[in-house]
Every structure is written in C-alpha cells, then in structure tokens.
Amino acid sequence: MQQNNNDFKAEKYYQQIVNLANVAILKFDRQFILTDFTGNSEKIFGFKKEEVIGRSLYETIVPHQESSGRNLVKLINAVIDHIDSYEYNENENIRKDGTRIWMQWYNSEIRNQKNELTGILSIGIDITDRINMEAALKESEERFKTLSDLTFEGILIHDNGLIIDCNLSFERQIGYARNELIGMQLFDRLIPHGYREQMMHKISMDSVQYEAETIHKDGTIIPISIESKSTKIGEKQVRVAAIRNISELKRTIHELDQYKHHLEEIVRQRTHELKTKSKELQQQNDLLQMERNQLRTIIDHIPDLIYIKDTKSRFLNANLMQIIHLRQKELSEITGKTDRDFFNENYAGKYYTDEQHIMSTGNPMINTEELGINEKDEQIYLSSTKIPLKDKNGKIVGLVGIGRDITEKRIAENKLTIQKKYLEEYNLLLEERTQKIEKLNADLFDSNDKLESANRILSERKKELEQALEQLKTAQSQLIQSEKMASLGILLAGIAHEINNPVNFIYAGVNSMIKDFEDISMVIESCNAIQDQSSDVHTLLTRFDALKKEHEFETAYIAITETLQDVKLGATRIREIVNGLSRFSRMEQEQWKSTDIHDEIDSVLVLLKNKYKHHIEVVKEYDSSLPLVECHAGKLNQVFMNIINNAIDAINQSQGRITIKTGKYDDHVFISITDTGCGIKEEEKKKIFDPFFTTKEVGYGLGLGLAISYSIIQEHDGEITVKSAVGKGSEFIIKIPVVQFKGK
C-alpha cells in the first residue's frame, strides 16, 4: 500500500505530531525523485516543497559526498537495496543555502498493491548539534594533548644539587638565565625549605616522579612536577629531572574535569532524549501508517473520485477510483499530470478554469454538477466538490476534489420528473373524468327512460335487419348462380368447338356412310338383277366380283365399319359434354347429398378439355378409397371449375401439367390442385379471395370466381388454402368434412 499523507484526518493529526517532533518527512522513488516533502522538511532544509517535488535527491538535499568524503550515492543505493540493514542511518545533508547538516534517518519502504518496492519513506531528525558537540569534545581532547605536548618541560641535570645543565624551558620556568643557573646549588637557591629534605631524599632513588615547588627568580613559588632519574653523562653519575610548571595545568585540569563532567551529562541526557523520541516517533509512525493504510483502503474503495491537485491543477494524489477514471493503473502515472493529459479540452478546460477560480478566490465549489467522460467513453454527470487546500500560513497550495458519478441518478431524476408530470396530468385528467362521470351518471338517469323507448325501436330494427339478412342470403346464392353461369358463358365458345368435332364425326360420317351405302346398295341391286337373268353360279360370281370392283364394294364396306365407330365415338363425346354441362349447371333443387367427388372433378375437366387438351397434361392422383362426401355438388364443382380454369389460365399457352390429387385425412377429404403455371405474386396472395380481384383481361373473368369459391367452401365448413411461388406454380388445397354437422 502506498503512503498517503494527504488525507484530511491523517493530515491534521500527523501535522501536529511532526510539528512537535520537528522531523522531516519525505518520500522518494526508485529513481531518487522526491515525491513528498512534508513535516518540517521545509524548515529543516530551507527548500519549499514545490521546489523539490519531482526533483532528484542529489539536486536538492543530498550532496554526492559528505564533508568527510563518504560517498552518499552508494549509501542511498544501499538504503534502497537493503532497507532491512538501513532502517536507521545517519548522514550529512545539504540545505538550500549550501550549509551542511547532519540528519538521523528512519527509513521504511513504500510498496504498491503488487508488493513492488516503489520508493522510500524517510523520517529525519536534525542531529547537527549533537554531532558538532561530539566533534568539539574530540577537538578539546586533542587540544589538551597538544597542550600537554607543547607544555615546556624544563630539563635539569644536576649532581647532588649542583646544577650542571638546563634547557631553555627551565630558564623560562625559573626566571634565571642558563649561565646563572649552571653551578648554582639547587637546594640552596631554588627549592623552598620545606621541600629540601624530601628532595634530597628523592635524588637517592633510582627513578622517581613527584610534585614539589620551586622558587622563581622573582621570588614566586611555582608548583612543579618532577620526574627524575639517575643517569650517566659520560662517566659521571648525574641526576636528570624533567620539571614542568604545573600551575597552569593544575588549573586547566580542574576546569577540564568540571567541563568534561558537564559535557558527559549533556551527552547522556541528549542521547536518552533522542532514544525516547525515536521510540515514540517510531510508535507514532507505525500507528499513523496503520491508520493511513486503513484510510487509504477506505478512500480507494469509496466509489467517489477523490484527488488532490496543486495550484497548477496537477494531480498530487488520488484514490483508486480517480486513477481508474483517468484510465490509469498507478498513482505514479497521474502525479504531476493534469486533466488535459487525459481528457479533451471540452472537459479538461472547464475543470481547469473552475479550479483556478476556486484557488484564486478561495471559495469552494460544493456538489456542483460537472460533465465528464467515463472510462468507456460515455458521457457521465459528476457531482463535484472542490475545496482549496491551505498551508499553515493560510496560503492556498492546492485543492481537494471529490466527484460522484450521478449519471444514473440524473436519468432516474429525469424519468421521475417526467413520470411526476404524467402523474400530475393524469391526476388532472382523472379529476376531469370524475366530474364528467358524475355528470354522465346524472345524465344516465335521465336517459334511462329514453333508452327503454330506444330499445323498443331497436328490437323493431332487429326484425328489419333479420329480414334484410335473409334477402342478402338469397341475393348471395343468386350471385353464386350468376357467377356460375357467367363462367359457363366464357367457356361456352370452347365447349362449342369441343362439340363441333364429335358433331362432325356424326354429320360428315353419316353423309359418308350414305354414299358408301349407295355403292353397296348398287352392287346388291345389280346382284339381284343378275340373279334373275342367269342361274349359272360361276357366271354370277364373276359378274358379282366385277360389280364389286366397279363400285369399290370392299372399300365402302370397310369405310362403313370405320365410320360407324367414328359416329359412335362422336355420340359418346357429345353425351359426355352434355352430361358435364348438365351436372355443372345443376340448380338448387338438390341440396346436401352424398357425392363422388371424382365424378364432379371429371365433369369439370370435360367442360374444360378444349382449353387444355393441346398443351396441358392432366395427372389424376385420385385416392380410390375416397368416401362419398356429403356436399352441395352443384356448388362444389363450381369451385373445381374456378380453380382448374385458373390453373389452365396460369399455364397460358406454354406446355404444362395440372396434378389433381385427392385423399382422406381424419374425417375430412382434401382435394389438391397443383399447376406448373406462372404462380401468384406475394402481394396478390392476400387479395385473390377478394371479390372483383382479377388478373385476367376483360372478358375472361369477373373476378368473382375465387371469392365465390371461398364462400362455398365456408358453407361446407371447409378450408381453402393456397401455396404459390412465382414462376413455379400454385397449389390450391380444399379441405371439407366427409359428413356435415347435423345442425345445418
């Protein structure tokens, strides 16, 4: 979890603590770029926060080398790489004005959600004073030593008190010149009485160190330290004494003792204080970090967009929602950037203007609606609050923004408004209606009487209507009959020709037979005459044969036989046509009757034969077990006539085929009539059963055929359906019950 020291509560608490603790708090990333610089950092280092954020440590507060020469680049690399070993370190830093200070740092790592180390959080205490103090102590010790080293040590060589030699230092110590001293009796002149016995005794010892006093030339008594020993100079046994004026030393030692004691006391106290403070700081830091983590988690998961910007509207910090809103994944991807880096000018420009206004006037923007774009590029409505952020001097240093996506709310509100409006209108309408109904109610009472009289009139009307309906039914049945006759009329010319051929068989045939018969008669009559003239059989036969040849008797005989067949064929065909005509034109007299459907179809085919025989093959697929059907045969064959006639017209003059199929299905029979004609256009399919709808030329149909057929099939409680494909043909399927419902 990344550190966030910019949320409000934590900020405040934290600010108090860091102010008290006088610590510097800063964060830097793996590239040593400072990402935060708070606490008392500004005061300690003399830099303003905005001067260092985004800059390298080495450009700001860390010199490459300490005054002592230690390489700080290595040190800070080591801190990042081995944080465990560098939780605590002391190093020299540099202030803005170039002065060096010593800081004691507590370092902790910053990790992102993927647990990758992204930077270091360092909390530092200024320990320059302590370091300086330690240095001073060391220096004073050195000085002391130097002092000791440099203190004149008088060297005196004597023989049982008779001065043999001395050095310059001794001369200075004692005030006598060297030449005065040499040959002088030491104990007589230079040693006070009180020390003479003691010193006389000491010089008999091999080596001795002691303190005594000496008498300066001016008569002053000087405390001295003596270190003496017997030695030989050449062959002579002498005594060498090193004499030190210790009057200064004694005083210094006394003072130093006091000073040292004082210093030690200070160091002890300071160390204790620091340790205590460090501990407290660590605890507080842990606590803060925990609270911050909690807060951060909460803030990150608040569905609102939360962000902090600097005075130039650059993002300093943001919660996860805001980062996602900006289509990024890491805070580091947005810090230092502005809305212009993520949105087009329409949005970013408006945000920028608003924010600059807020920061220049100090007036916050509260729950104000802003337009935005979400990560799916859809326009959204945001309710935004933007509050200026101030430093402790009251100077505006940025702003905190909270945005909430209220798009759904807005849509709901709009709907609600509309619904409310509807409701109000509806309410008004209801009131009006209620009034109207009340009025109507009153009117109703009034009109009740009127209604009763109207009712009487109505029942009279009903009777009239029933009569009219009856008339209509009669008219319809007349219409059906008329249509039948009309279609017959259209067919009649064809039927006439169809009759003319068999009539010709009979008429021309009979004429032909008359001639043949004349020929044959002539032979027979001649035979009779010959028979009377002669009785010679051979002669008779010869004459008879000659006669037969002369009159083509055999030919006439065969011709008569043939012609008789043709005459019979003609008569049969005429009978069939007349049969078909009479069957087809049957009138109302016979009503519901069990009928052989196949006979009815065949009679229709006879009437139509002339129209199709030359170019259309009629295929009959009759179901031989088809039961008799209870129907109105005269009407049903009108249906077959219409449909088959249409099929012939659909095929027109081209070669084609009409397939007539019958069958039984449950208690129904069906008759399917399929042609290979032109088919019915989709838009005409709905109209084909409409009265007066026709695609035929004037004079070839009234446009009533299928309309009448439809009503006839309905009358039979049946169905008529059509399937058709343009260019391929049509199929009409008629379905009627075998037995009609008794109630008819």
Partner: protein
C-alpha cells in the same frame, strides 16, 4: 386415278381424317396427316393441289402451318382451305391476308358443299398459278 386432283387433309382427330377420306375418295386423290409436321413431310414429296387443315391442333396450329408453307414454298403455293370447329377471328384474318388462305369452313362440314369449294378453289386459282 392419275388425273384426279390431289388433296392433303390435316387434322389431329383420326375420326375426322377417316371420314374425310371415305367421303372424298371417289373424287380426289387424298393424303392424310394427323399433324402439321407430318403434313409438311407429305408436301416435300408429293404434288399437292389443295391443302385443307384444321386450325386447333396440339403443337403447330393450322395458322402456323400455313405460315410455314408460305415461307417454304413461295413459288408453287398449293391452294389452302381451313376447316375448324372454332377459330379466333384474328387468326382467320391473318391467314387470309398473309398466308394465301382461300376459304374458312366451319365444322361440321357438308360433304357436297366442301367438294364444291375444293373444285371452286382449283378453278379460281387455275389461271393464276397452276
């Protein structure tokens, strides 16, 4: 028989063909064809004086047959009669105008009357192109 006029009669009804032959075998030499195509075959190999054809036949109609003859034998056209139970007026008109039809005779025909018409056409046309 050699000096009889030669008649070609075309009709899809076998009965009509037979009755025609039996009626006129004494007067003319007769060729029969049950379709226009068979009639054309006969025309190819025989000298024909008069063609009598039915109009309504499956396949090629009488009118179409007359047209074919008109196109194929423009120089030696035989005389043409049409015999039919029914024909549209337009068809007959075209046949007269374009294809040299001499007379249209309705079925049923009267043998004596038809014989007179046949003789009439032969005499009428004799000076012209025979």
């Amino acid at each position: 028989m050699g000096d009889k006029y030669v008649i070609l009669y075309i009709d899809d009804e076998e009965s009509n063909l037979r009755i025609f032959r039996n009626s006129f075998r004494r007067d003319f030499e007769i060729f029969l064809a049950s379709s226009a195509e068979k009639g054309i075959e006969i025309l190819n190999r025989e000298r024909i004086d008069v063609i009598i054809t039915d109009q309504r036949m499956p396949g090629t109609t009488g009118l179409e047959l007359l047209k074919m003859i008109h196109v194929r034998y423009p120089d030696i056209p035989p005389h043409r009669l049409m015999v039919s139970g029914y024909a549209a007026p337009a068809e007959i008109k075209t046949a007269f105008k374009e294809y040299g039809l001499f007379r249209f005779i309705s079925k049923p025909w009267e043998a004596e009357e038809l014989k007179q018409i046949i003789l009439n056409v032969i005499q009428t046309k004799h000076g012209q192109d025979v």
